[in-house]
């Protein structure tokens, strides 16, 4: 770059600006912390309020004191209660079933596809990578009508047909999985594989015994991201789920209260807290992995 320092000017300017820099540094730090405080409020205040409302007695819903008052667990009980036709507990189990199935299948297929894309040279490779990347940006809403007809023709839109939710989820999670894994795989020290093969391993063995353990963190990150995106899916689930297979996203949006036409806000907030807390815990535990996974796509941090 053009601003490469010249040694002569550096020495002269250094002592002169030192004093000035020290002062402005402190002022800058103060400003920085103020900015940080504001940003943390912007990021967390909505969430904080969700939790406060979730723990607040229904009768005091209209009390907008900014700190917790009238704390009660009632709303959480109400969220799991089935007396008003909500099946939040079952929906949680459904989301776990759908999330785990989607993640497992997407990972199994994704590892092989990503390995092929990262390691092997073949014609049309970039075309395939492009098509897969394109698919990850594909608007889900365009799939609603063809899939709806297909699924209703083969009778998947009633009863406990979890595959009607898992299969479309896979088609959205898979491109992301392949994409992130390809980025991870192309960064790995593949010379090790070469040497393992020199030492007599087959390519399969080299992959299983040497490379897979090395790739474990990347696989883990990708699996978490796959699970989160499946957990968050709403549009297609809303169309293809039945009373039995309904995942949490659909259940939360459809919460009904004791009185008709009145939304049970505090219960919805309690349910929202229940759905979000596991994700936040997961993020806090695996933050390094998740950050590297989220940035592995286009940019490597």
């Amino acid at each position: 770059m053009s601003t490469q320092a010249l040694p002569a000017t550096t020495a002269a300017a250094n002592t002169e600006t030192h004093q000035y820099r020290h002062k402005s540094q402190r002022w800058q730090n103060a400003r920085g912390y103020l900015g940080l405080a504001l940003l943390i409020i912007w990021g967390l205040a909505p969430f904080y309020w969700m939790v406060v409302t979730a723990f607040r007695d229904v009768d005091y819903t209209f009390d907008t004191t900014p700190w917790p008052t009238h704390v009660t667990m009632q709303n959480f009980q109400a969220a799991f209660s089935t007396s008003t036709g909500n099946h939040f507990g079952r929906a949680l189990v459904n989301s776990v079933i759908i999330g785990i199935s989607t993640t497992t299948i997407a990972m199994l297929v994704g590892v092989f596809a990503a390995y092929a894309l990262a390691r092997l040279d073949f014609p049309g490779k970039f075309l395939i990578l492009g098509a897969i990347l394109g698919a990850s940006m594909f608007p889900g809403v365009a799939l609603v009508s063809p899939l709806f007809q297909l699924f209703s023709n083969i009778g998947w839109l009633n009863g406990a047909n979890y595959q009607a939710l898992i299969i479309p989820n896979i088609s959205f999670v898979l491109p992301l999985t392949v994409y992130t894994l390809t980025a991870f795989f192309s960064e790995m020290p593949w010379e090790l594989e070469e040497s393992a093969r020199m030492d007599g391993c087959t390519q399969g063995q080299a992959f299983r015994k040497i490379m897979l353990p090395l790739a474990a963190p990347g696989l883990f990150t990708t699996a978490i991201l796959a699970f989160i995106s499946s957990w968050n899916e709403y549009l297609l689930s809303q169309q293809f789920s039945t009373n039995i297979t309904q995942p949490v996203t659909v259940a939360i949006a459809q919460f009904t209260g004791a009185l008709p036409r009145q939304e049970p806000y505090t219960t919805v907030m309690a349910a929202g807290t229940i759905v979000t807390v596991p994700l936040i815990i997961m993020v806090l535990l695996f933050q390094r992995a998740i950050v590297s996974g989220l940035t592995a796509g286009g940019v490597k941090g």
């Binding site: 770059m1 601003t3 320092a5 000017t9 550096t10 250094n14 800058q28 940080l36 940003l39 943390i40 912007w42 990021g43 967390l44 205040a45 909505p46 969430f47 409302t53 819903t61 009390d63 907008t64 900014p66 297929v109 596809a113 092929a116 092997l120 073949f122 970039f126 098509a131 990347l133 394109g134 698919a135 940006m137 608007p139 889900g140 809403v141 365009a142 609603v144 009508s145 063809p146 088609s171 192309s186 070469e194 709403y234 549009l235 996203t249 939360i252 939304e263 806000y265 907030m269 929202g272 979000t276 993020v283 933050q287 998740i290 950050v291 989220l294 940035t295 286009g298 940019v299 490597k300």
Partner: protein, 312 residues
């Protein structure tokens, strides 16, 4: 990418390697093919079906009239006033969300780039909005924040200015703005992450040198940081735009597409769900896809150029 490293790592054994490669080529590729085929089938076939249906007259209310109609559905989409306003809403929504997210994301990234105690925790907390279930986040904004009677915004107003504080109905007064702010809240962390990665790849010695030479913080920012970040800003903006164009959850949850906030995905949903016009819904879907492809091509170009730079 990885292909570049293979020849570099084993130049002496080159001739032997090539022979080995040739022989085992198909044997090694065969197990990988099903995965690739599966990926392509899973991701591309539904789209082909959408294209076929978009050229058909297919309305569930008139099952006997099913058949191919050429471009009728597309003409209908482009002449329908609802569809046109949906296009405008989509553009306004996407452009404003992306701009807000980029500015805020850059500000957060700059603050998180400096070293301070607890940086890891703060960074994680800042990412949280991105990982919250979108429907729950939309409900959160609708009920816990915007609600005129017990929302946090009016609560804070009351708390600051006493009982006579104004208590606006945020969503009814500014429906589109309400949605824009809620989506921006969720997408800012995504932009922030990409920009932070960009900031951290900045050559710090050069920045330090510039500072010693007497460049002000602002000069460093405009002359060094911003040019360096350009590519990352483009990438963040494009990827963000692709996802915001498709937003359905927030529009559906916060206003149910009412009050002039119906965007294209919501319009498709309505055409499909209430009008049961599968042909027209598919045509509108294809329009969204084409729009997305235009943005995506630009995004992919940026991604690939970054990949190429990495492997150099």
């Amino acid at each position: 990418m990885a292909t570049a490293t293979a020849p570099a790592s084993a130049p002496p054994a080159r001739s032997k390697e090539t022979a080995l490669n040739k022989a085992g080529d198909w044997a090694r590729r065969a197990p990988l093919l099903p995965a690739l085929i599966f990926v392509i089938a899973m991701t591309q076939l539904p789209f082909l079906a959408t294209i076929v249906i978009s050229f058909m007259n297919w309305n569930a209310y008139y099952p006997k009239e099913r058949g191919f109609t050429g471009f009728d559905n597309y003409v209908a989409v482009f002449t329908d006033t609802n569809a046109r306003s949906a296009v405008i809403v989509t553009i306004v929504l996407t452009v404003s969300v992306v701009l807000i997210c980029l500015v805020l994301g850059l500000a957060i990234a700059l603050l998180l780039d400096r070293k301070f105690r607890g940086r890891g925790v703060v960074r994680t907390l800042m990412i949280t909005p991105f990982l919250i279930v979108p429907v729950a986040a939309a409900l959160l904004w609708k009920h816990a924040l915007y609600n005129p009677e017990y929302g946090l915004f009016n609560g804070v107003l009351k708390w600051l200015f006493g009982e006579n504080a104004p208590q606006p109905d945020w969503i009814s007064n500014n429906p589109l703005l309400a949605i824009i702010v809620a989506i921006s809240w969720q997408w800012t962390p995504f932009m922030m992450l990409i920009l932070l990665a960009g900031l951290q790849s900045r050559p710090l010695d050069v920045v330090e040198a510039a500072r010693i030479d007497g460049a002000s913080t602002w000069q460093i920012f405009t002359h060094m940081t911003l040019p360096h970040l350009r590519q990352y800003i483009e990438l963040a903006g494009l990827l963000g735009a692709i996802y915001v164009v498709q937003n359905f959850d927030h529009v559906f949850t916060i206003t149910s597409g009412g009050l002039g906030t119906a965007n294209l995905p919501y319009f498709i949903y309505q055409t499909f769900y209430t009008a049961q016009d599968y042909g027209r819904a598919s045509a509108a879907g294809v329009v969204v896809v084409i729009g997305t492809i235009i943005i995506a091509t630009a995004a992919l170009r940026t991604v690939f150029s970054l990949f190429r730079e990495e492997s150099r």
